[in-house]
Symmetry: C3
Subunit: 280 residues, 3 copies
């Protein structure tokens, strides 16, 4: 099984799928192709939340603002999973979770020249009616198609235990070991930040849900807000703080958009603290 | 085969797919994940139009504004198909069509505690660098991943004829039996409403297409509009009333947006009546 | 393998998939369903760039502003691939590339009446609670479901070498043989146009990338712009001209939107010429 994640929208992921399917019979599963453009950190957060629910697989990830520069292309072996993508940190938070505290976490550098050429299905000896061939060789701007997809197909088919037999892989250490920020918890005050906003507008922070235990209300960035176990704990359109499905404190609105109601975006600071007696 | 439908956008459906693929080798087919957020009725309409074109399958549907409340999780056996989702009515219009007038239509309550835990692929004995584990046990806010996906995988794999052997299913009656509104037809006047607007902006009503038979023009909410068999029956940018692919009267614009031209949204009232002689 | 491409958004492609899966076990792969609505030319461009990366397959394409009119439904045999869609030109640029200069390029007319009926999974002898049946027979407005999907399933399953055994196919010539416009190259001046804007906002022209060779800067519609091999050749937010992954000159912004920075849309004229000495 190969999963695919990118910030490509469409139709570029289809070119990656074509390249994969030229090389492998693996099942292909889309994670998402609408991750925020060139946003390595938010993509890394989501992958860490989603990939651990998959059975052992090869995860192809292309959020790659440095495409074509000297940033490396890497493969990570993390427990029973492999990840393939750029060495910009996007793979690491998910890889650490997939490895767990007992599993292996090993990094390999892809030698792009060793991968061999991409061969589109065309036998043109002459330029076509538009005066040109399909590009031959690797592009500088679409390594998802020209580097990561062929690498992922080969990694999948060779099998996780025999990665070393791929001649174009060599053991390495990563240049960028992204760690997502952690919240600070002091007395009953949590200071964290927004990691992501989901499609419903739910504001996902890095404050562990345990910070909400046994509380009926908290002050969120200064304003008292009810704590609820479910969206329906408050009326439609009302704000609440809840523990999201990933285990973090979320600032939400029942059937509305938390990001708009709280005025928060990824990267913004969030302070959750007790409601003073007499307040709220 | 398991189909998936939700209002989740991305990447939440990927977490459901991971949970499914941990449990089953079934083919997965997306119906849509951009149904209008928390809109049970419009989703129910679309499912009724789309699912009957599938071969026998398990249909996983999660549009669930009441997630985490005491609304039930159910399985519906409808003819040769099964549907899995919340007991909020979203499954029922499609289920009635899949059953037809001769087929079985049976409802089962899911005992969530009997389903067993969701186990993400991680072996962490200690919290990770963000100070926490992946959540253990069922979340209160993502039953698509934690209840409906594992139920759908089990329902698929056990087979439609032996659902009763799943110990966590018991026969029930539904709490919410959603019926989509019907239009009234009186003399030559049809009074209905907008069921949905599609991505092209076509305004889909609940007025049967037969109400347009043998008419060259109708008055739509008071204004005379040509009746056409195809969009191209009128010039580009012009309005028309046609019979859509689902068999209902649609208010459209050739290569434009009917919702904007007619000023109509789901739930709005639509009156189609003959054009008085001398008018239009 | 059957690929699917359309301008349908959701959930209409799911109805096509249901019809396909009623008839075939083929792997289904989405190319994209958000091609610009009714835009035959831009879709044709993208298909020509993406489909040649696939292994031999049946490609189902439905961008069809003339649905229900007397435009024909066709099958194209192009090298080792087949394409199924409307005779409006959308298949042809991709088909020519898939055929190459040595391969066969043959066209077949679909006799829609020979295809047989679409049978949704319902056994209703009476109209349902909404007073009607699912539509019987072919719709006038959704040939993706009612004509092209059943044709693609049959074309896939019969096999590319025995298409002629399908009684509802007959050899034909196409009505619309779309050719994408070519740029003119004169001395060192290239005059072309915008073929597409991708999701990143990159402006894809029809000027061959070779026109940028050995240049550090060009004048793009009068303004001097650096030529770079990668987006990162310029600072974040800066404009550049580069050779895109399809081999054409692209007008881009590093981590920004080229279409907005250059004020360009599909169909707009683009002139690339040398920077006069002393300029820029």
């Amino acid at each position: 099984m190969i999963t695919l994640a990118s910030d490509f929208g469409t139709p570029y992921p289809a070119a990656m799928k074509g390249v994969l399917l030229q090389r492998t019979d693996a099942r292909l599963v889309d994670v998402a192709h609408d991750f925020p453009r060139q946003n390595v950190r938010t993509t890394a957060f989501w992958l860490g939340e989603v990939l651990p629910y998959f059975p052992p697989a090869t995860h192809l990830v292309v959020v790659d603002p440095g495409v074509g520069t000297d940033r490396n292309a890497i493969v990570v072996r993390a427990g029973d999973h492999t990840l393939v993508g750029p060495d910009n940190g996007v793979l690491l938070p998910a890889a650490r979770r997939l490895a767990g505290d007992a599993g292996r976490l090993e990094h390999y550098l892809i030698d792009e020249d060793g991968l061999g050429p991409i061969e589109p299905t065309t036998n043109q000896s002459e330029p076509d009616s538009r005066g040109q061939h399909l590009p031959q060789g690797r592009s500088k701007t679409f390594h998802g198609r020209d580097v990561f997809a062929p690498a992922a197909a080969a990694v999948h088919d060779i099998g996780i235990e025999t990665l070393e037999s791929l001649e174009w892989l060599e053991s390495t250490t990563v240049d960028v070991d992204l760690k997502l920020p952690t919240a600070t918890l002091e007395d009953e005050r949590a200071v964290g930040e927004v990691l992501a906003v989901d499609g419903f507008g739910n504001v996902i922070t890095n404050v562990p849900g345990s910070a909400l235990e046994d509380r009926a209300r908290v002050r969120a960035n200064g304003e008292p807000v009810p704590v609820g176990e479910t969206f329906a704990a408050v009326s439609v359109g009302e704000r609440l703080v809840t523990v999201g499905s990933h285990g973090y404190a979320e600032l939400d609105v029942n059937q509305g958009r938390g990001d708009e109601a709280f005025g928060l975006q990824p990267g913004d600071r969030v302070v959750l603290e007790p409601v003073p007696s007499g307040d709220g």
